[in-house]
């Protein structure tokens, strides 16, 4: 009813304008002034893009860039196979993701033609692509306001483009060379929408065809474009006016027949892509369509949604005024919008359209939607940022309203002021968010030159061991995978092929960066072929020589009435009491009550940490911890609360505190395979080791702790001539073993800590892995025949991770249940 009244009022106002209100004139088409306006806007947006991203020109190549540079460089050298594969197969033949993005590869190839390995050119292209997208943002706003607005549409368009140019969530797409998949996709996506709206306005079929072509190009850049038909349908519903005098049924057909074309194009694309990739959904993992049924909840993640309006990298320092100022501007926008709603007759449909578009455009990210505190994943919001910027410009400027002149002037003035402030704030945030990328770029440059120098100095046939390849710098990806290091150490990125001289401890397929296989590491350290070891130092951004650790091989602390007071307790004002007498305790601070053979520890609401006295440990040999305690919560003793108690230590590698969960294996015995943590194994001597109790309503009766070698819990084996020789006699209750073989192209390297803290994890029956059981605590298991061609050398397969497999063994008891921990995996390349 209300909207009906508003419509009537609009009609009245346009036909018989009362003197006090703005006359909705037709914008006069003065071509010269229009050209000037367009050129000025064009220049302003271009300047905004270049000024904002100028610093990224020096960023260089990072992370996945090398994967794509590898095949374009090979194509340039005459080996076209890798490049062409992108047109008929999985993108870059990736082992962790299924996707189809040939146009992105092609753009990389074109850049490489001009710029070779000079990253500047690639980044220049990225900035131009961003500018292109911003330009289309402006054009779309012009269409939207042209369809249902007034002359303020031009200002609105310019502001939307400017906001888009400096939106602080864009660095991941713009500052990272391969981030251009989103830029390319968005450019064609926006161009397609603009052409369609143009077509619906002036009915020139060429625009329809242009729109369809852009859609296909967008799809060929990234799958995110799949939402375009839905957005066009939304535009038809909410924006495009269709005059129709015939039957209602025919009206619907007339309105939606063009939309149908886009859906047909999408269906053809889907069929084509499915035929090539063998999967409908693709992306990360193999969930298929059923994944979608339950995973829509990921979009409700509050932290990610907050990042959209407060787009700041939490690992970068920002001035404290930014957050309140941003919120004040948004609140101002909301107030202005509400005012316009109640005061004038704002058209709600454009707002609805933009809002729905922003929501629809992120739907394809359902598998992975999450914006991390350091803005990793922010590229997923790239397309949606376009309608968001348009929406903000429309919220703040009354471009789709009919209101009184004085009100319109006031709203425009306040809106422009707020837009200017927002532009300034966003520019500031953008520069902050770009900092990690610039630093990462610099560090990568140092890293590669250092690697070349080190490799050059290494004799032939010998290796240099690179420990802990940097994964990222505050959200800006760096290297991580040995595969990328190998590419960077080969021509054309390096004058000579040094790859064969470099050895790393990184898993062949990315997993969690926090863990390491300690036995494997120890072997590498003692291998005489590895002449030198280097450890990446994050703070200085350089490789430092790795010094082997020293210290004791074991450590024991058993609670006695006398030694309790030697514990270093944090916080220091924790209260102490004698268990056999009345004692004072606190309901908030931690309390420690001393008994003859145990220490009762209440963590209180602050939690408590105990450091043991006289610790001097060699992390390589004392890499297994066992704590003896029983935990009591409000319902009595439980076994599920071990995660509340953690082992803690000061790690020279992590640059401070590190911790590991104490998982309960047998009641009262809480184990942790500390050697699995990089922060343990890559530390030099460990001088401080303790136990931390998280805050909560529980207490533990603590009796002691021991540190020792992992040999009693982790089986080891030797590979000889296609057979495994194993010995699990040291593991208590072992009766036989199971040999686990991972499926082709997958590894056991865990992404989480669960299979390191408890023997009961799913590893013994890991999904899809082959299991071969054998009785006896010592023996030999023959590998399947096809393993005879396998090698443990990663270079034997040209760093191709698609044909690797891993094997590991786990000791089992007489009932076939796993005991101890599964062994470290051995990677075999085919």
């Amino acid at each position: 009813m209300q909207s009906k009244m508003s419509d009537q009022e609009l009609v009245n106002q346009s036909s018989q304008p009362p003197s006090s209100q703005i006359t909705l004139e037709k914008a006069s088409y003065d071509l010269a002034s229009l050209k000037l306006q367009m050129m000025t806007g064009f220049a302003l947006v271009l300047i905004a893009c270049f000024v904002s991203y100028w610093s990224t020109l020096k960023v260089g190549f990072l992370l996945d860039d090398f994967l794509h540079l590898n095949y374009v460089a090979q194509a340039q050298a005459g080996h076209w196979q890798g490049l062409l594969h992108n047109f008929y197969g999985n993108w870059a033949d990736s082992d962790i993701m299924k996707s189809y993005r040939p146009l992105s590869s092609l753009s990389f190839f074109v850049d490489y033609l001009f710029w070779k390995t000079n990253a500047l050119g690639f980044h220049l292209t990225n900035i131009l692509l961003l500018f292109g997208s911003a330009f289309f943002v402006a054009l779309i706003v012009l269409e939207v306001t042209g369809l249902s607005g007034n002359r303020l549409g031009t200002a609105c368009a310019l502001w939307a483009a400017l906001l888009f140019a400096v939106y602080p969530l864009h660095p991941e797409a713009c500052a990272w060379a391969i981030g251009r998949v989103d830029l390319l996709c968005s450019l064609f996506y926006l161009a397609s929408i603009h052409s369609y709206l143009r077509f619906r306005l002036i009915r020139e079929p060429v625009y329809l065809w242009a729109s369809l072509v852009c859609f296909v190009l967008a799809l060929a850049s990234k799958e995110m474009a799949a939402t375009l038909p839905a957005v066009i349908a939304l535009a038809e519903l909410l924006l495009v006016k269709t005059t129709w005098k015939g039957e209602a049924k025919d009206y619907s057909i007339a309105k939606f027949k063009y939309v149908g074309l886009f859906f047909i194009a999408l269906a053809l694309y889907a069929a084509f892509r499915t035929a090539l990739l063998g999967a409908v959904v693709g992306g990360y993992g193999e969930g298929g369509l059923s994944v979608f049924a339950n995973s829509w909840r990921v979009f409700l993640d509050k932290a990610s949604l907050v990042k959209i309006i407060l787009p700041m990298n939490e690992e970068v320092q920002f001035a404290s005024f930014v957050k309140p100022a941003s919120l004040a501007i948004y609140a101002g926008a909301l107030v202005i919008f509400l005012f316009r709603l109640v005061a004038g007759s704002t058209k709600v449909r454009p707002f609805l359209f933009l809002l729905c578009w922003a929501v629809v455009a992120i739907l394809p990210t359902i598998q992975v939607w999450h914006i991390y505190p350091n803005l990793v994943g922010s590229r997923l919001f790239f397309i949606s940022s376009a309608p968001l910027c348009m929406l903000l410009a429309l919220l703040l400027l009354p471009a789709v309203d009919a209101m009184k002149r004085r009100q319109a002037i006031a709203v425009t003035a306040i809106g422009t002021l707020l837009l200017t402030l927002l532009f300034g704030l966003w520019s500031y945030e953008l520069q902050g968010n770009l900092q990690p990328w610039i630093t990462a770029g610099k560090q990568m440059e140092t890293l590669l030159s250092q690697v070349r120098t080190i490799a050059r100095e290494t004799p032939d046939g010998k290796h240099v061991l690179l420990l802990d390849l940097p994964r990222d710098f505050s959200g800006a990806g760096m290297l991580t995978r040995p595969q990328y290091l190998a590419i960077a150490a080969k021509p054309p990125f390096s004058e000579v092929d040094y790859a064969s001289r470099l050895v790393t401890i990184e898993p062949p397929i990315s997993g969690s960066h926090d863990y390491i296989w300690p036995q494997n590491f120890k072997q590498m350290i003692v291998d005489p072929n590895n002449v030198q070891a280097y450890l990446w130092d994050r703070t200085s951004g350089q490789f430092q020589s790795f010094a082997k650790a020293d210290g004791n091989d074991q450590f024991t602390f058993a609670v006695t009435p006398n030694n309790c007071r030697q514990l270093k307790v944090i916080p220091e004002n924790a209260s102490w009491g004698e268990g056999n007498n009345w004692h004072v305790m606190s309901s908030k601070l931690p309390s420690l009550v001393r008994f003859a053979d145990h220490l009762r520890i209440y963590p209180g609401s602050t939690g408590v940490t105990l450091y043991f006295p006289d610790v001097d440990l060699n992390p390589l040999s004392a890499n297994f911890a066992s704590a003896d305690f029983a935990l009591y919560d409000s319902r009595g003793c439980t076994t599920c609360m071990g995660a509340k108690v953690r082992f803690v230590w000061k790690s020279s590698f992590a640059g401070g505190d590190a911790q590991a969960s104490a998982g309960e294996v047998v009641r009262g015995e809480h184990l942790a395979w500390l050697g699995r943590y990089r922060a343990w194994t890559l530390s030099s001597t460990i001088k401080e080791f303790g136990l931390r109790l998280e805050p909560g309503e529980y207490f533990i009766d603590f009796r002691g702790v021991r540190l020792f070698s992992d040999a009693k819990y982790v089986p080891s084996f030797v590979l000889s001539q296609n057979a495994i020789n194993y010995d699990v006699s040291k593991i208590a209750n072992a009766h036989g073993v199971q040999l686990l073989v991972s499926p082709v192209g997958t590894t056991f390297d865990s992404a989480n800590e669960t299979d390191m803290t408890a023997a009961k994890s799913g590893t013994a029956g890991e999904r899809d892995s082959t299991v071969i059981s054998q009785n006896g605590v010592k023996g030999k298991i023959n590998l399947p025949n096809d393993f005879s061609v396998a090698s443990t050398d990663p270079n034997s397969s040209g760093s191709n991770t698609k044909n690797l497999r891993q094997v590991r063994i786990v000791a089992v008891d007489q009932y076939g249940l796993p005991v101890g921990f599964p062994s470290e995996p051995l990677t075999l390349y085919f």
Binding site: V342, W582, V584, S587, V593
Partner: protein
């Protein structure tokens, strides 16, 4: 606009209006469903069980019982006096269709709530029609929407017997609306139906008696053209006219009062016994001091919304905006002369509707008792609507700046919409407590069924507690309710006789336990499996109380001293291991000095304890005593065994003392755990004369009650006094505990015995009426003071006795109803 295709303009607008009306009605229905759809999975709760048992009897061949309600006390209960025959009819109708399926009852409840909402909408629109169709409709809709989602309503909507209020309100509002229709359209039929609706609402709940004064008030406030008043002598003429138009309602009210008085034997009614006495004593406090009035505006269940919940802040902000809009309107739209009259009228209606609740009005912080506000929320919502939404008559509107008026009106409507959304969110969350309460009762029934099915036949299950309530949602608070729950038709087999309970008979502190009865039971522990219901995990937890050995000697803990005790600090004991069942008292000898700046706070000592099952100190096991902290030695005695929390601990591992902090020079001279053998006389019912049932009540099998007693261990006793309580009164209701150290001032009669051990009898004629009674024993010294403590009471039910034929019929389970 489907409705706007009629041909003539008049037809078109009439159809249009009807279409819009329908739209608003559907919206109101939608709002109600939005908040209450979860209630459909609810269950019978608290007093509902009384009605289930009643309906069960009615449909087992006693339909005349429904009619009896028209001339007797409602359901012929004792302890309450109400006249609500229509409610039983509505319940019977539900039973007819749904039997014991709670879904049907909840559906009907929602229907009455929807009915009340819609009649409030229609009524408000009619009241405000002088402001023009569109404005009146919008304002009425917003008021009705507020009512639909008002957060004080879950008790009425989601508690089956809570419908008493919604039925009464629904028919009251309908009567008011029909009265207006009759008056404004000169429609006699509507007027007649209005009287019928009034009668129905009267026989649903007594609250409806406010309708005639309300109609009278309307006649005084109605616009002149509607009031048909001559210009001269206006006030008197108005009064006369008002009487002329409302006298049939007054007459109906008079007739109702006569019928009701004849049926109940009293004009007031309500709650009687010690429950009624408790309610009358705290009227002022309940209304004003405990923040009850403020809770009407901030209806947050404290157990659902923390004091820091963001919704509280939002609601406060919305109210501020509402207040600002009132100010803005007063400043800018001063042409609302007609409106202030309606605001005063709505306020008058609100006050009128609150008056009859004077005896029971008690809105606790978990919104218990919010049903008493149900009828009042109708005028309250109308009042909010009228205050916030600016209404201006068409004549006055021409003088206003149109665009400014429109702006303000839209902004105010938006504010009210936001308020509706906020209320809806709060109401939905408040309502969930009722849904969960119902689900827990269902779970309890299933758990009991499962346990009993595996328990060999002669053995019985002792259930030491019942789920009392979640937030403000009642669950089961006495044995009679559990009896119905575990009986056909709610339970497939009749299992009630196999479950023993320790709950209060009607109403009381469920935390207290009659330890003498429990110890008596444990003498043949092999016949019983003892369980407590764990509400958190929703399962029955077995208790091992069989080892209730006697405390062979007093157990003493050593002393301890500390110079100062800071904030959040407390004293924890060394490990102990004592049987909780065998310990009656914990004695404490303590001296400490409270710093002068803390002396205005009344100091308390808190005792908490742990067991193997619950090794942490928590707020649920805690007893308090007032303390004197003047630096001198004082002795304190915690009577622990009367508390379920202590008695059911099995074995106590650690104790803790919380003292007021900061505290200086704390000197704990010792703590002693001792049995009450030499302090509490023992009293037993003679099984030949009194039969103890599963609910712990002894019922007379002959014309007298005979008791055995033993006070021979009490040193220095000179005489022994037996106290009998007043009917339906419980000694512990007056003192709040079972360990009284003086004779009760509320005893019905006393019998003095000279021997320290033996038998005594009470003739049935001592009991003046069929009711519950308590009997207990105290030992007195020569000065007539009680030595030690009075004994645990024995509960009696006297239902029929020789000589007096005042009651006919068989002994029934006595009921407690609202």
């Amino acid at each position: 606009m489907l409705f706007c295709q009629a041909k003539s303009e008049n037809e078109k607008s009439a159809l249009c209006r009807r279409g819009i009306d329908l739209l608003f009605v559907v919206l109101l229905l939608g709002l109600n469903l939005l908040v209450y759809w979860r209630s459909l999975s609810g269950y019978f709760l608290a007093d509902d069980f009384v009605h289930v048992a009643y309906l069960q009897r009615v449909f087992a061949g006693h339909p005349e019982m429904l009619l009896q309600n028209f001339w007797t006390n409602w359901m012929q209960t004792e302890g309450t006096q109400f006249y609500r025959p229509f409610i039983s009819l509505t319940l019977a109708l539900d039973w007819l269709f749904w039997k014991a399926n709670a879904l049907g009852f909840h559906l009907t409840n929602i229907l009455y709530q929807v009915g009340s909402t819609i009649f409030l909408f229609l009524l408000s629109r009619r009241l405000l029609r002088e402001f023009g169709d569109w404005q009146a409709t919008l304002c009425a809709f917003l008021a009705a929407a507020l009512f639909a989602v008002h957060p004080l309503h879950p008790e009425v909507v989601s508690w089956i017997i809570g419908r008493v209020d919604s039925v009464c309100t629904c028919f009251s509002l309908a009567a008011f609306w029909l009265f207006l229709k009759g008056q404004q359209e000169k429609n006699r039929l509507a007027y007649g139906v209005a009287i019928v609706c009034f009668v129905v609402s009267l026989i649903s709940k007594e609250m409806a008696i406010t309708l005639p004064p309300l109609l009278f008030l309307w006649c005084l406030f109605a616009p002149k053209d509607e009031a048909q008043v001559r210009e001269s002598n206006a006030v008197l003429e108005r009064l006369r006219q008002a009487w002329a138009r409302t006298w049939p309602f007054w007459l109906t009210l008079g007739l109702y009062l006569i019928v009701r008085t004849l049926s109940l034997g009293t004009i007031a009614g309500g709650y009687t016994g010690s429950v009624g006495e408790g309610l009358s004593g705290s009227l002022w406090k309940r209304f004003f001091e405990d923040g009850g009035m403020l809770r009407v505006l901030f209806p947050f269940d404290i157990e659902v919304f923390s004091p820091f919940d963001h919704l509280r802040r939002y609601l406060k902000t919305i109210y501020i905006v509402c207040a600002a809009s009132v100010v803005v309107r007063l400043l800018w739209l001063r042409a609302d002369s007609g409106l202030s009259r309606w605001i005063i009228f709505a306020f008058g209606w609100l006050v009128l509707s609150l008056i009859p609740t004077y005896q029971v009005w008690n809105l606790t912080d978990n919104l218990l008792g919010s049903r008493f506000m149900y009828m009042s929320t109708a005028p309250l919502c109308l009042l909010i609507g009228l205050l916030v939404f600016p209404l201006v008559k068409a004549v006055n509107r021409e003088t206003l700046d149109q665009s400014r008026f429109k702006l303000i009106q839209r902004a105010c409507a938006l504010t009210l919409v936001v308020l509706v959304l906020c209320y809806a969110t709060i109401a939905y969350k408040n309502n969930l407590t009722w849904v969960h309460a119902g689900q827990e009762v269902r779970d309890l029934r299933e758990a009991l069924e499962a346990k009993l099915s595996s328990l060999p036949e002669p053995k019985k299950l002792v259930l030491m507690n019942l789920p009392q309530r979640i937030g403000g949602a009642h669950q089961i608070y006495n044995a009679a309710m559990l009896w119905v729950l575990m009986q056909w038709p709610l339970c497939v087999n009749n299992l009630s006789s196999r479950i023993l309970t320790f709950e209060p008979m009607m109403y009381g502190d469920s935390e207290l336990v009659n330890i003498a009865r429990l110890r008596n039971l444990l003498k043949s522990a092999q016949n019983y499996d003892i369980y407590v219901w764990d509400s958190q995990t929703r399962r029955l937890v077995a208790l091992n109380l069989a080892g209730a050995e006697k405390l062979s000697r007093e157990i003493k803990l050593p002393g301890f001293s500390v110079v100062s005790l800071g904030a959040d600090q407390f004293l924890a004991s060394p490990p102990i291991d004592i049987s909780s069942m065998a310990t009656d008292f914990v004695d404490l000898d303590l001296s400490a000095t409270l710093p002068s700046q803390a002396k205005n706070i009344p100091p308390y000592i808190f005792l908490s304890w742990t067991s193997a099952q619950k090794p942490l100190f928590d707020g649920t096991r805690r007893l308090a005593l007032p303390a004197t902290l003047d630096g001198k030695n004082h002795k304190y005695r915690f009577a622990v065994s009367q508390h379920k929390n202590w008695a059911l601990t099995e074995r106590v591992n650690l104790v803790r003392l919380d003292l007021p902090t900061p505290l200086a020079d704390v000197q704990l001279n010792g703590m002693t755990f001792l049995s009450g053998e030499k302090l509490i006389p023992q009293l037993f019912a003679d099984e030949n004369y009194l039969r103890e049932d599963a609910d712990g009540v002894s019922r007379l099998t002959k014309e007298k009650a005979v008791f055995e007693y033993d006070a021979s261990q009490i040193d220095g006793a000179d005489s022994f006094v037996v106290e009998v309580s007043k009917p339906n009164s419980w000694f512990e209701h007056y003192s709040g505990q079972m360990r009284d150290q003086e004779l009760s001032k509320h005893a019905l009669t006393r019998i003095v015995l000279k021997e320290s051990k033996g038998k005594f009898e009470i003739q049935s004629r001592v009991f003046p009426m069929p009711a519950y009674y308590q009997v207990r024993l105290a030992c007195l010294n020569k000065q007539g003071e009680v030595i030690g403590f009075v004994s645990d009471s024995i509960n009696l039910q006297v239902s029929e006795f020789a000589g007096k034929k005042r009651l006919s019929g068989k002994a029934k389970i006595k009921r407690y109803a609202i």
